[in-house]
């Protein structure tokens, strides 16, 4: 970071490559939009280029700083575009990002799984931003509660509470979207 701040382009590129993936995934999962995530990652590093003094080693790691900026940008993005259910996400080479077609998958099963993934993604994106953030960090990114609390900068109890409510909402949505709600089936 110090070298990058002094104008070492390769050091900057190294820093970018080390952190961009996690930031991009977080932004993608929060916004559900590839272009939105791209803009956010670009914005985060632009901020770092323009104001490298924002980084203070005594206040935390570069990763934490970048995540903080990304989180801020994500929230702004969500305020601007509150709900955005994405169309099919594409990789850079134009192929679809999502389910990997396995050998034992029939086209019907593949379609079903694909449809279900869209539903799950839509359900996640439909959560209020605070709950969605907790779900994305602890369920999709598989962070521990401590890590998530540290990243967001809130007590661990807050994370637990948001996560619980987020999971409950998510579960209710997913159950509604199932053809035969599982709970009803079990209750019978």
């Amino acid at each position: 970071m110090r070298r990058a701040a002094q104008g070492d382009e390769e050091a900057f590129a190294l820093l970018y490559r080390r952190h961009q993936g996690a930031l991009y995934r977080f932004a993608l999962r929060m916004t559900g939009s590839a272009w939105g995530a791209e803009e956010i990652v670009q914005d985060v590093f632009m901020t770092l280029i323009r104001a490298p003094k924002k980084y203070d080693p005594e206040r935390g790691s570069v990763g934490a700083l970048l995540f903080g900026i990304a989180r801020n940008r994500v929230m702004k993005h969500l305020e601007r575009i509150p709900r955005e259910v994405p169309l099919e996400e594409k990789n850079e080479d134009g192929s679809g990002a999502g389910i990997v077609l396995q050998d034992n998958f029939t086209p019907a099963k593949w379609m079903e799984a694909r449809e279900r993934m869209h539903q799950v993604r839509a359900a996640v994106l439909d959560l209020p931003a605070e709950f969605r953030e907790a779900v994305v960090m602890c369920e999709l990114d598989e962070m521990s509660y401590e890590e998530a609390a540290q990243m967001i900068g809130c007590p661990i109890g807050t994370i637990r509470s948001r996560l619980h409510r987020g999971r409950a909402l998510l579960l209710a949505k997913l159950e509604l979207l199932r053809d035969v709600p599982r709970r009803m089936k079990v209750a019978r």
């Binding site: 995934r25 990652v41 590093f45 850079e92 993934m117 999709l140 619980h164 079990v186």
Partner: protein, 230 residues
């Protein structure tokens, strides 16, 4: 925690922790055991847990689907471009700043040296004048006699005290309140007749010095014989 070891949990308590049952670090052993015990005989809570496990699996699949997601290469290109531009601009700006400071410093030094030289020369001149002061009138007289032209010696005198012994020329009415110039002229005495003054013919060929009081319009208004006549 002790209470979960001895007591059974109710549905409400299980609902509060059911999402964390498959997270090892989230619950301690007695709490987990009490919850599992409840799930074994409560179909409603067991269904809830089963639903959550299915949902969690789907979330995991969604997470895996985007596990390798990364920003496109064009983002890195754009950022590198911005990085280069920013640092080039900074270098240019730094160079400009250095040049500006250097110029300012040079201007200051030149100014100081110039002022010092001027001050030194002024002091030297003052010292020279102080030394030369006793002989000053004599030297100025010599200088005047050396530089005076043959016919006209012009002296700019502005003191009103000198105007008292002037004789107004016929037809002229000198205004003594107006600033005027005194012109010292060497002429033949007979030329005074041309100014309308009486002249003794016998001494008309003598050379005299006269002071002419010249008005703003450039015409002589009064005349007197110069006191330092040679």
């Amino acid at each position: 925690m002790e209470m979960f070891g001895k007591q059974q949990m109710n549905c409400e308590q299980v609902e509060a922790i059911v999402f964390d049952l498959d997270r090892d670090s989230a619950l301690d052993a007695p709490e987990r055991a009490a919850a599992l015990s409840h799930l074994s005989h409560c179909s409603r809570c067991a269904a809830l847990q089963e639903s959550w496990q299915a949902a969690r699996e789907e979330l995991r699949t969604l997470g895996e689907a985007t596990l390798e997601a990364a920003a496109p290469a064009r983002v890195e290109m754009r950022l590198r471009q911005e990085f280069r531009t920013k640092h080039r601009t900074m270098v240019v700006r730094r160079g400009t700043m250095v040049a500006a400071w250097a110029l300012a410093a040079a201007a200051l030094i030149v100014g100081l040296v110039g002022w010092r030289n001027w001050e030194q020369s002024r002091r030297a001149e003052t010292a020279k004048q102080t030394k030369a002061e006793p002989n000053a009138p004599a030297s100025s007289e010599v200088a005047a006699s050396q530089t005076q032209p043959a016919d006209i010696l012009a002296a700019a005198l502005s003191s009103a005290d000198d105007l008292g012994d002037f004789t107004p020329l016929p037809g002229a009415a000198p205004d003594l309140t107006e600033p005027s110039e005194i012109l010292r002229v060497r002429m033949e005495r007979g030329s005074l007749g041309a100014l309308g003054l009486p002249v003794n013919e016998q001494s008309a060929g003598d050379w005299i010095q006269v002071d002419l009081l010249v008005g703003n319009d450039g015409l002589p208004e009064a005349v007197r014989l110069a006191q330092e006549e040679n």
